[in-house]
Structures are given as C-alpha cells and as structure tokens.
C-alpha cells in the first residue's frame, strides 16, 4: 500500500478516534438475501477496500469513470463497463476484477499491487457471491438527477445586466424598483392598491425598522407633517436610531442559530459579545462584505484598530458544541450548514453522505469545505483584548480566572502522564502488540470495529500499528491527543473544570467587563480532508483540498492555501464571479420588509427552492448593493421609499382572483408581530421599556418583568423556553431561514393569563391615571388612534365593570435582600430588597450575577451570598407583635467531588442579627478540608439554634450569610424554624417562601389588557 496516502487516511482515522460505527449493525439490519455474517464481512473487510483503492476513479461521482466501469454497487459491478462484467458471482477465477488485481492483464490499482491478503479477501468475497446489503432506491432516477445537475440555475449565473423597464403608468412607479414591479402588474392587468394612510404606514415602518410600534405622538407628528419629505424624515429617523440594530440584529441571529448556552445547558461564556457585536454592526452599517468577512475570519484579517471585532467569530463558535474529540464531523457539519444555507442559500449539507440528489453539489464539494472547518478549532475560547482594572472586583476575577485556567492545564498534564504509564504496563503492551499484528493490514474502519469488539482504545491501536513500520513509541501520547485516551471520568472532570473556568469568565463579562471576547483560531497543524464515503468517517475516500463550491465557482474553482482557508473562503463567497452573497442578502432584506422575499425559499436557491418572482429586480438590487458599498441601511432605505412598500394591504378582487399569493405585489402583506415586537411594544406602551443597548442577558419569566428588549433574552439551545417556541421564535438548534406564523391557543393563554400581561396592564392603568377620558387615552396609547363610538362603548363597559373585592392575601413576615454587613460589630447597615422573583429565587437582577450584588440570592431553602461583606444576603423576619421566639435551624453547604478535589469554595459565614440586640450568633462553614477523602457529596454544617430571643413588634431578625471574601460556588442551605415560645405560632422559612403577592387587576387594567390582546395591536396592516 502506498505509504503516503495510507498514512493520511490512517491519520484521518486516528484523529477521528473511537466513535462506535454502525457498520455491523446496519449490515445485519438490512441484509436480505445474504447472511448477517457475509454482509458483516463485506462491510468490515471489502467495502473499505473498494472505497480506498477503487472508488477514487471507478465511481459514479466521477464525470467519466475509466472504462465506464463503476464499482459503487453490486449491480454496477456485475454489469461492468466497456470490458464487460467486472465479476461473476461465485466464480472468482472468471472475474475480471481479480485478474486486474493480480496484474494479469489490466493492472489495478495502477499505483501499486495490493498485498496478497487483500487480494485474497476480494477472492473470498466473490466466492461468497458478492454479498452486499440491500439498498433503497435513490429518490430520483439517475437520469433525472443528471438532468437536474446539468440544468443551470438563474441564481448561479453572473449578474444579469438590465435596466428598469418602461411602464405605462409612471405615477405608480416613482422609483426604479417600482418600475420592475409595475411592469409585471401591467402585464398581468392588475392595478396596484392605493397608498396606506400615514398611521398604517408609520406602524409598518416602525415595526420593520425598529421592532417597536409607534407612539400616538409619533403618529400625530407624521400625520401633521406637511413637508414634502415628511416620510423620508421618518425613515431616516428610524434608520439612525439604535433600535434599528436591535431589530435587524435579531434577524441575523436567527440565521446564525444564536444561543447563550449549548450542549448540556453549559453556557457559552461570551456569547453576548457576539450578539452585541451584531447589533452594533447593523447600527454602524458595517458593509455587508466586511460584516461577513469578520464573522468568518476576524482572527486572520486586519481589524483596523478594532480588536473587539474578533467577537464576530461567534458566528462560527456558537454552533454545535458537542465536545468529544470524536464528534468533530458533527461540529463541522453545523458550520458548513450555517455558512452555505445562511450566506449562499445552498443546501450543501445534503452532500455529506452522497452527491446532492437535485443540485450539482457533489459530495466532493462538501468535503472541500470540510477541511476549512476541521482545521479550525471550532470550540471558541476567551480572548483578552483589553484590561479594565478600574472595574470593581476586576482583580479578584482576573486572579480567579487565571487560577481556574491553570487548574485545567495541571489536570490534563497530570492525567496524560498517568495514562501513558497505564499503557506501558506489560499486560497492556502485550495486548496491543498482538492486536496490532493481527490488524496491521486492516483499513482504519475495520480496525475501529476490531477495537470495539475487543475492548481496545481505537486511537491506541492505530498508534501501535503505526509504530510497526516507524518504530516510534506508541505510548508517547502527545498531550493534544488527551481527548482520545481519556476515560469517561476524565471527560466529566475536564468538562467540570472548563465549566468552572468559563463561568468565571462569563460572570466577569456579565458584570460589565469588556476585557474578553469569543475567538477561535486555526489548528496548529493543518491536515488534509477526505471524502467520507456515505458520511462514514472511518471510510475516508479521496483527498479533498479546501476549495469553494463548484456550482458557484465559474470556470476556475477557488482553492485555499493559507491556513484553514477561512479568509479565502470569505473572499470566494463575497467576491466570486457569481454575486450569490449579495443576491441572498438582498433577497432576505426584501423578505423582512415585504413579508415574502423575491425568492421565497430564502435559504435555498437550488432546484428544490422557488423561482424568483422578479429576477431582474433581484439583480438590480444586488448590483445596487455592491455599488452602494454593501450598505444595508441604504438598501433598506431604497426599498422603503418605493411606492410598493407604501401600499395598503387590502387585496383587490382582481388580485385575489389572479394573484392570490400576491407574488406580483399589487398590495402589501398583512403581517403579525413577531414575539420580540409584541413584547417590546407592550413594554414601550406600559412606560417600562429599558432602552439600554447590549450587555448581560435577561430572563423573560421573572416577576416583575425585566424591561429590557427581548433580543437580550437568554437563549438556551437545549431548554428553549416554551414561550419562545409557542410564539415561533427561531429555534436555536440550527440555522433558521424564516420563522413560521402559527396560531395556537397557548399564545392566547400567555396574553390572557401571564404575569407579564397582568403587570403591564396594571402599569398602563397607573400611567394613564385619573383622567376624564380614560378609554380615549387607552386607545391613543396602545393603538395610536381614537376609538369609534362603538368601541368606546364596549371598552368603557369593561373599564367600569364592578367586580367583587378580592380577598386580601395574607402578608408574610419575610423579606429577602442584599445587605451591607459589619461582621465585627454585628450590624446590618443597609437592606436592599431583591427586586426580581424567578419562580425559585429572589435576586437583584433577572439573571445572575447582578452587576452590583453578584450572585446574591435567596431561595426556598437557602441561597448564595454576594461578593463580600458589602453584599451579603439576608432572609429577614419581622416580628408581627411583641414576642419571644425560639430559632431552630441548620446552615450547611454541600460540595460535589470536583468542588472537593479542586477546592472551589472556601465556605460561608452565617450570622443572626437582631435589630434590637445586635449579633446573636455566628457560625462558620469551612471549605472542603485539604487532604480529606473525596466522597460523592461532602457536607459541612452548623446547627444554629437560639433558645429565646425577645423582640418587640417591628423588630427584625436578619439571617445573614456572607462569602468570607470569596464568593465562588458559595450556594448554601439554611432552613429555619421560628417558634413563639409562648404560643402555637410558628414560621418556616421553606414553607413560607413565595413570590410577590398576586394583586387583582383593576377594571381599567383589564380594559388595557383587551387592547393589548387585540388583533389590531398584534398585526401590521
């Protein structure tokens, strides 16, 4: 076997580690006429041979296979090529394939005769009758597939020059864009709808550009503006507002499958740097080509003194983060998908296992891109770009982050040494030496199956086989390959260590640090990729240098030579002969403004996608985009200034009859608010909206609601909030081309019953306050218009409806907050009640850590302290009357095996402080003792009982916990019982724990709610 080629294939197999294959399983599940053993024999011994030695030339993925002979299927082999059948089932002697392998006649493979054992295997296989698993028929007949491949797609041709057509009715087509639309309307004999009224138009424009409905004042201002450029002024006002970036940034985040956490719910520590970068990029109108280039290769291009632009790489890093070394192909697949569907509207992922069935995208193209991403370290890391030592607590975080990073290094180094020793034990070396001898001539695929069957580590087996010829030391495992030899315990430990490190980095960023952003880098050693036959990465086929997609390449295919090739890939995407990137983006922008794009399958311009409704217009826009320096704001401006955009959304009877899908755009589409616009507009009209741009994420489910915009919601890839799914928010698991618009009762339940709507309705009631024209104010505030007489009647009936008074909910004597604590004097200086209730915790921000109070929080059974004495936590009990009480409680902390081994917590201190008599008691919980035996769950506790405490009405008992100056992992449990020593009354901290009392809605608030639920509010006409 030619050494060089085999080494590469072997290395690819080695690098791909110990994933269990389905070869044996698949074979036996599908076998029909052949026995399980025979099919298993084929899969284990023959198929890999064919793949690696024959299919490079004799495959139907080649344009003209030599001698017209393909060996991809049993039928093809039996049929043969120019020289007739390649094999006769059961008759090896007469089979041409065997003669060729024996170099009797044609000499195959041409590069060198196969070893005797391998030829013997082929002979054996033919003698058995060429066992092969049954295969299902391809989705299309071969002839159709070829035709589909040959058919050129308009979208893949170079720019088609055209000028806007002439139209009869020039008044209906004031802009160039309008002429393209008007020409088709005239050809179809359709009249355009009249212009929308100003209120409707401003609503549409505001939602499209800002994601916020306009206020009554804004509508009035526009309606009363008599200047000729009144509309242009509205457009420019909205384009200049930072709300624009939040709106259009969110569209992009759909494409980028943005999430704040990945597999197992583990946080992406610096995801927010990407989200904020995207929002900021739209606000600064970063040219689209630069925008894309940075997202693919910011680590490799000149940043023009903006080191923070590295955060753009979140586009790559915030993807599939399965962390095992062996899961590389799935990580790569996610990147290929997001880049090709997102930027090129090509479904290249289909070609992972076979040639695309419909488009001219051979599997070779998929693997040309594979190398680009396989040679990139896809799991991001924190890159320091600044030091802002001025930020409070910065040095603590710096030190701790460095320590946690060191702990990871140390663990890995310690373990790799131990593992090397394990593999040097005589029993192990003997086992592997024997196995290596036996499997020396096997393919990587077969060797992996062997390893699985014999309980061996596949990577080590590969090293042993490799050492036979090279005389290298197989046990000298490089530290970078730790992932292939580590145990499951190591995997859990390294993950726990990484998580602890990343939580520190993330907490620091969420509290305001701008020191770090997500980054990535190329692999240190660039390795060639190979086609993986049928997507099986133990079945590497021919080598595939990194190159661009064939269908988009024009006559000369761009291939990449610098590092992973990401920078060159970006260049090929943006500046190749086919203006695909601009067509795709321009089409998306059109879709967001009109409700339907010109090519409606926005992420698939292939043969299974739709045809463009106005191809010349699309190219006109693409050309304009390029001439305007790829300015997305200019593009949007030119579109919203058309007459077409400003039309009413009522369809004429003729339009309904002849163009029911409104492809010709005789009118605009009525559209429902997406979830972000809905929630943000409700916040705006309730007077609550916090317009701060960027920063730490929020929770959407706290009481009260966190009033920042919905784009800042914490998005969990694996535990998506049902609320988001219900409202069709993009699924963060993969690239989302377009959101659905479903209607389900759970949406109505949210609007009817959620705490959010109750709270906002109450705010509106309060905001409007006592005024004679409450109902009028309500309509103006929420719907930006005055009510009709009939509406006034209906809504007034609600606003004035009498309801029986609700029973007052009993108040409990507990309060939860952060305190400044003087531990020496035993005094609580300041009590800052926690604002937010999450359902299980009271805390200062909707998501922790709070910028000021850190992790301070109180739960039913305990909580977490803040950084130090200035933000300890307190569960405060107030005496309802003069009383003497007894306190029985246990303060404790539990630490898992990692916290024990790596000393993550130094313990906490509990103090009981009476407002009347000062410090009553203090109890220390220490961190895990160094050197003590590690157990599953280590518990350290203190019994905190006080027999008798005298209090007067209104006195407070503060159960204070502070971090002992080190808040890392300081969650504690403190269950407290307080009993009246002279009576039956008792209070239980856990039983009594609850959120804020629910207040009934006033009738006026209910009237507000009706309008917030209305279709008029939720739809853009």
């Amino acid at each position: 076997m030619p050494a060089g080629k085999y080494n590469d294939a072997m290395y690819a197999g080695m690098k791909l580690g110990s994933l269990a294959t389905v070869l044996l399983a698949t074979a036996s599940a599908r076998a029909q006429t052949f026995s399980i053993e025979d099919v298993a024999f084929f899969e284990a011994k023959i198929r890999p041979l064919l793949a690696s030695q024959c299919l490079g030339c004799h495959s139907n993925s080649r344009k003209s296979p030599p001698a017209n002979l393909t060996l991809d299927s049993r039928a093809a082999i039996l049929k043969g090529g120019d020289s007739g059948p390649a094999a006769i089932a059961g008759d090896p002697a007469s089979s041409r394939i065997l003669q060729a392998l024996r170099y009797q006649g044609p000499q195959m493979p041409p590069s060198g005769k196969l070893p005797g054992e391998q030829i013997a295997l082929i002979e054996q296989w033919i003698a058995k009758g060429l066992p092969w698993p049954a295969e299902s028929a391809p989705a299309t007949a071969p002839a159709d597939a070829t035709k589909a491949r040959a058919a050129k797609r308009w979208a893949w041709e170079p720019l088609h020059p055209s000028s806007p057509p002439e139209v009869s009715n020039a008044a209906s087509a004031p802009t160039a864009i309008d002429r393209f639309i008007q020409a088709k309307l005239e050809a179809a004999n359709l009249k355009p709808a009249p212009a929308s009224d100003r209120r409707t138009l401003l609503r549409r424009l505001s939602i499209d550009l800002a994601g916020l409905a306009p206020t009554y004042a804004e509508v009035q201002a526009f309606e009363n503006d008599t200047r000729p450029d009144a509309y242009e002024r509205q457009v420019d006002r909205l384009l200049a507002s930072p709300t624009f970036g939040e709106r259009w940034g969110r569209h992009w985040l759909d494409l980028a499958r943005y999430a704040d956490s990945g597999t197992l719910g583990i946080r992406f520590p610096l995801a927010i740097t990407y989200r904020d970068w995207v929002i900021d990029a739209f606000n600064r109108d970063v040219p689209y080509d630069r925008f894309v280039t940075l997202q693919l290769a910011a680590d490799q291009v000149d940043l023009h003194n903006r080191p923070q632009d590295v955060a753009a790489l979140g586009f790559i890093t915030l993807g599939n983060d399965l962390y095992r070394a062996t899961e590389l192909p799935d990580r790569v697949d996610d990147r290929i998908d997001v880049v090709t569907r997102g930027l090129l509207a090509l479904t290249v992922s289909c070609a992972r296992c076979h040639d695309h069935k419909y488009d001219p995208i051979p599997t070779h193209d998929y693997y040309s891109l594979y190398g680009v991403f396989a040679n990139t370290q896809l799991l991001g890391f924190a890159k320091e770009i600044a030091r802002n030592g001025k930020m409070a607590g910065a040095s603590w975080y710096e030190d701790r982050i460095a320590l946690r990073a060191q702990t990871r290094e140390d663990y890995r180094n310690e373990r790799i040494r131990a593992i090397r020793e394990d593999y040097r034990q005589p029993a192990e070396t003997e086992k592997y030496r024997k196995a290596a001898e036996e499997t020396r001539s096997y393919s990587s695929a077969h060797r992996d199956v062997y390893a699985r069957e014999h309980n061996l580590n596949a990577y080590m087996l590969e090293r042993w086989v490799h050492s036979i010829d090279t005389h290298s030391d197989p046990t000298d495992i490089p530290v970078e390959d730790f992932g292939f030899v580590m145990t499951e315990g190591d995997s859990n430990t390294t993950r726990a260590l990484r998580r602890e490190y990343e939580d520190m980095v993330s907490d620091f960023a969420w509290r305001g640090s701008r020191e770090r952003v997500i980054s990535l880098a190329d692999e240190r050693i660039i390795r060639p990729a190979h086609v993986l036959v049928r997507g099986n990465f133990y079945d590497p086929g021919e080598e595939t240098p990194p190159c661009f997609v064939t269908a988009l390449s024009g006559p000369r295919r761009a291939c990449f030579t610098h590092g992973s090739g990401r920078a060159e890939l970006a260049d090929a995407i943006l500046h190749g002969p086919v203006p695909i990137a601009s067509r795709v983006m321009v089409n998306r922008v059109w879709g967001h403004l009109f409700g339907e794009a010109l090519i409606r399958s926005v992420s698939d311009f292939g043969s299974r996608g739709e045809q463009p409704t106005h191809p010349e217009l699309l190219d006109h826009l693409a050309a304009q985009y390029g001439r305007d320096g790829w300015s997305t704001k200019r593009l949007i401006r030119s579109i919203v200034l058309t007459a077409a955009y400003r039309r009413a959304s009522n369809a004429s009877p003729e339009a309904l009859a002849h163009d029911p899908e409104n492809r010709l755009l005789s009118h605009t589409h009525r559209r429902r608010f997406d979830f972000e616009s809905l929630r943000d507009s409700v916040l705006l009209f309730s007077g609550r909206l916090d317009t701060a741009i960027g920063g730490k994420p929020i929770s959407l489910t706290t009481i009260p609601a966190d009033p920042r915009r919905t784009v800042y919601a914490y998005i969990e890839r694996e535990r998506p909030l049902p609320l988001l799914k219900i409202f069709d928010v993009a699924d963060p698991e993969q690239h989302t081309p377009a959101r659905g618009e479903t209607v389900v009762p759970q949406q109505a339940l949210f609007l009817m019953n959620s705490p959010f709507l109750q709270e906002m309705s109450s705010w509106i009631d309060q905001l409007i306050g006592q005024t004679p024209d409450f109902v009028g104010e309500l309509f103006r505030r929420i719907l930006a218009r005055n009510p009709s007489a009939e509406e006034r009647k209906v809504i007034t009936a609600i606003a004035e409806r009498q309801s029986p008074a609700a029973e007052p909910t009993p108040e409990l004597p507990w309060r939860y907050g952060a305190v400044s604590f003087d531990a020496v004097a035993g005094r609580v200086e300041e009590f800052r009640a926690f604002r937010y209730f999450t359902g299980s915790s009271w805390q200062a921000a909707s998501m922790l850590p709070d910028v000021k109070e850190g992790m301070a929080s109180i739960t039913a059974s305990g909580g977490s302290p803040g950084d130090a004495l200035e933000n300890a936590v307190s569960r405060r009990w107030a005496a309802p009357r003069d009383i003497t009480v007894r306190v029985t409680s246990v303060l404790l902390q539990r630490r898992n095996q990692f916290a024990q081994r790596f000393h993550w917590t130094n313990g906490v201190r509990g103090s009981l402080v009476s407002s009347r008599s000062g410090l009553i008691g203090q109890w220390l919980i220490d961190g895990p003792a160094k050197g003590s035996k590690i157990v599953d769950l280590d518990e350290s506790k203190a019994v905190a009982n006080v027999e008798s405490i005298r209090l007067k009405a209104g006195d407070t008992l503060d159960f204070v916990v502070d971090s002992r100056d080190d808040p890392e992992l300081d969650a504690f449990t403190w269950k407290i019982k307080i009993e009246d020593t002279e009576g039956a009354d008792a209070w239980d901290s856990e039983q009594d724990f609850r959120g804020p009392p629910v207040r009934p809605l006033t009738s006026r608030a209910r009237a507000a709610q009706v309008l917030l639920m209305s279709n008029e509010f939720a739809f853009v006409d």
Partner: protein, 466 residues
C-alpha cells in the same frame, strides 16, 4: 370572501406528504379556518389512535428486568469471553441479583422487581433484541425520541401530531409528563424542530399538585372567570369588526378563535389534571405516589383524546444505575411497577387498550459486566452497570400488537442483540405502521428535502404485529 392566499399558507403546514389530504380535513365542523391540530386521517386504516410512551430515562438494565441471562452466573466475577468496548471501564461478569420467573399463559420470564407488570405478561410483546448506536444518554435520548443521534430532527410525538392532529382541540396534542424538572437534554426530547411550533410537546412538571402549577398560564389569579369572559367578549367584538374591514383575513380569524380555544383549554385542563375526580378504587389501583398519580393523569389525558402522552420517570436520568444495581433498580422498579400495570389494566377495563399503543422503553440497556471505579465518573465502583447500546429490552402493548410473546434475543450474556435485531429506527417504523402510516411517506419538506422520522432507515417488524 376569504383570501385564498392566506388559506394556502395554513395548508403549507400540513399537506406535503399526506397524499390525499384536502382542505376539508383541516377544517373543524362549521368553521372555515384551518387548524394545525385538526384531526386528520393517515395513509391507511390505523390500529392505534393514541400513544402512551413510558420512558425509563437513564437506561433500564435489561438483564435485571426483562432478559434473564443465567450464563452470567457461570462467569460470575470472571472475564466474559466476549467483551465489547464500553464507555466507562468495566470488568467481570455480573449476574443479576434478582430472580426471574415465568408469568402468564405465555410464560414470559420477567424479573421479580416488576411483579405487577409481570402479571400483565399476556398483554405484552417484549422485545429483547433492541439496539441503538451510541452508549451515551444524550444521543440515545435523541435517537429514541427523534430518530437521530446528532442532527436536529422532530420528535416522534411531533411527527404523530403533525400526521394525525389531535382528537381534542381543547388540550395540547402532545403532552410530556416529567416530575421535578427536565430530563437530560430537556425540551430537545420533544422538539418540533423544523415542523411548525404547534407540534412541539408541552411539558408538564407532574410533581406539582395544584393544577394551576401544571400547565403554564392555564389560570389567572388576578381576575375571576367572569371578568375574563367579559374581556374575551369585548375582544371578540373588536376583533370581528377589525377583521370584517380586512376581507375577513383567515389569519385574523384564526387568532380570534385561538382565544376561545384557550378559554376552553383552561377548563378542560383543570378537569383533565384533576385526579380527585377519580373514584377511590381507581386511585388506589395506581397508588397514591408521585408515579401513580402521574400515570393516572396520563390515562385521563389519553382518554380525552390527547394524541401522544410521554411519561418520564423523573428529571435527569434516574434509571442510570452505575452503582448499586440492586438497591437502585429495586427502588426504581418499585416506583413504576404498580402505576404501569395499573395503566394497562385500567385501559383494558375501559375498552381503550385496543386503540391505544403503549410503548415502554429506556434509551439503552446496561452492561452484563460490572462498572469499575474512576474519579469523575464513579468514585466507588459499587456493583453497578455501565451503558449498553448493543442490546436492550423494551415492550409494546395494545393496539395492533402481537401480545403474549417475546421477540428477538441477545447473546447468551446479554451484551449484544443477536437474533431478530430491532434498531430504534425499526421500532419507529413499526409504531408509525400501527398508526396507519407508511413511515417512508410521512414526510415534511424542509431545506429542499423531504424529511421523515426514520430518515433513510427503518423496517417495519412484522413479528411485532398481530
């Protein structure tokens, strides 16, 4: 006149892949607006109308429950002649600490820790030759639930509600019961993925006792039912006027109606989840335990037409007994035994078992060899078993199932499925068959391709069908 274009948009969600589905199928009687959960008919006459999937998340050990392996006794404490690679380090053969005995007329051998389920043996089709691909929870949950270990695909429950709609429009069509939190991989297990969000499973934390805590936003403590009704009446009036001025756009009407559906859902959910309405005899049949109550809720939901109910054992992966198989599996089995047996009996008594399919499965099985200690995964290495994707057991009962039998077999040690192997894809194909679908033709067009639950795999296993 209703805008036919808007009507078409609703059809986009349902028609592709369903052959002879017409608009009429999507419409509820007397209304003109299509509803994604409207009841639909499948390709051919179904045997099953509803699915209850009891999921033993964490990996129930087959050699300790449904697959007796006396050969392990011969090798106790010694290396097995066959030792496939396991995720964690494993050692010597580890016979089951439990005794097996024969149950029912069919004489199926079941372990002593499932005595009540054992009594139902004649209703069960026990598959002993299940196998899956990866000995790890997350990919195997995804395989069992979504038909793919890594890729983003809709769950089986979503496919079924997409294909069939639901029989009761006042409740979600696909409900997932899991007590005390979320299982490993969370909502991904019941995801709709690229299918419309209407087909996503609705998770209920069944440990909550109060109905208000069970379904999100199902009730409102801030206003009375009457006040709410008055609001909805006012809303209806406003929405109708609004729609009338806009060609009665179906999208507007659909949203208008969704409030009425939601109003009804409040009452229906209150009723469905309220087990206090059951007679004492039924409640004691299931047992007054967390799992008993949860299973009774499952029966009530299914009986009320919820198309798919999935019942998980608990948050995380409780059946994952890496240590102390004896203690842990005894306890876990005890928690499920009575409720599951009660479900079967109860369905039977009500005449529902012959139109309900009950699937009882883990995501994989466990190794016949003992797991060894290793910091980070198993501190103590205490008489437990590691994950086993090579072979495991599951059973089917109810509509269209050939009951009173075992199907397939593992090797003599229970390491790998050997005879009449059933991959999870095959199980899916068979389940869809029972619901009246050719699994290759229940598809959805996304990203230019027709996707299906079984992707490119799966064979209907005729031996499981009556």
């Amino acid at each position: 006149m209703i805008n036919p274009y808007s009507r078409r948009r609703f059809l986009e969600y349902g028609t592709l892949g369903l052959g002879n589905l017409g608009l009429a199928m999507l419409l509820r009687a007397g209304e003109e607006i299509p509803n994604p959960l409207a009841s639909k008919t499948p390709h051919f006459a179904p045997k099953a109308k509803r699915l209850i999937h009891v999921f033993l998340n964490g990996g129930m050990s087959h050699v300790d429950t449904f697959d007796p392996k006396p050969a392990l006794n011969r090798y106790a404490g010694k290396a097995l002649p066959v030792h496939l690679r396991t995720e964690r380090k494993t050692g010597a053969a580890f016979p089951s600490p439990f005794a097996f005995r024969r149950f029912g007329q069919c004489g199926t051998e079941i372990s002593e820790i499932f005595p009540k389920i054992g009594e139902c043996a004649d209703d069960l089709c026990v598959i002993r030759s299940m196998h899956t691909d990866i000995p790890n929870h997350e990919p195997s949950f995804l395989m069992m639930n979504c038909g793919s270990t890594q890729q983003v695909r809709p769950s089986m429950g979503s496919w079924l509600t997409y294909g069939l709609g639901s029989e009761n429009q006042n409740l979600p069509g696909f409900i997932v019961l899991c007590p005390n939190g979320l299982p490993t991989k969370g909502a991904v297990n019941w995801r709709s993925a690229f299918l419309p969000g209407a087909y996503q499973g609705t998770h209920i934390d069944s440990s909550r006792k109060r109905v208000e805590d069970l379904v999100e936003n199902i009730s409102n403590a801030s206003l009375t039912r009457e006040d709410q009704r008055s609001e909805l009446d006012a809303l209806r009036a406003m929405n109708q006027t609004h729609a009338a001025a806009r060609e009665d756009d179906p999208a507007l009407h659909a949203r208008l109606q969704s409030f009425e559906l939601a109003f009804r859902m409040q009452m229906e959910a209150q009723d469905a989840f309220d087990i206090s309405k059951e007679p004492d005899s039924v409640r004691s049949l299931y047992g007054d335990t967390l799992h008993g109550r949860q299973m009774l809720i499952a029966r009530r939901l299914s009986e009320r037409g919820v198309r798919v109910v999935q019942v998980w054992h608990g948050a995380g992966q409780p059946w994952d007994s890496h240590n102390d198989i004896k203690g842990n599996h005894s306890r876990l089995a005890h928690e499920s035994d009575q409720p599951v047996a009660a479900l079967l009996q109860d369905l039977k008594q009500r005449g529902l078992l012959n139109e309900t399919l009950v699937l009882f499965s883990p995501e994989f099985g466990r190794t016949p060899v003992v797991e060894l200690a290793d910091f980070g995964s198993n501190l103590n290495g205490d008489a437990g078993r590691d994950h086993n994707s090579y072979g495991f057991s599951a059973w089917l009962a109810g509509a269209g199932v050939k009951s009173g039998q075992t199907y397939g077999a593992t090797d003599e040690f229970g390491f790998r499925a050997e005879e009449d192997r059933v991959h999870v894809h095959d199980l899916h194909a068979t389940v869809l068959q029972l619901f009246g679908f050719n699994h290759e033709h229940l598809t959805y067009r996304y990203a230019g391709r027709d996707f299906r639950l079984t992707d490119v795999s799966g064979q209907v296993i005729k031996g499981l069908l009556s």
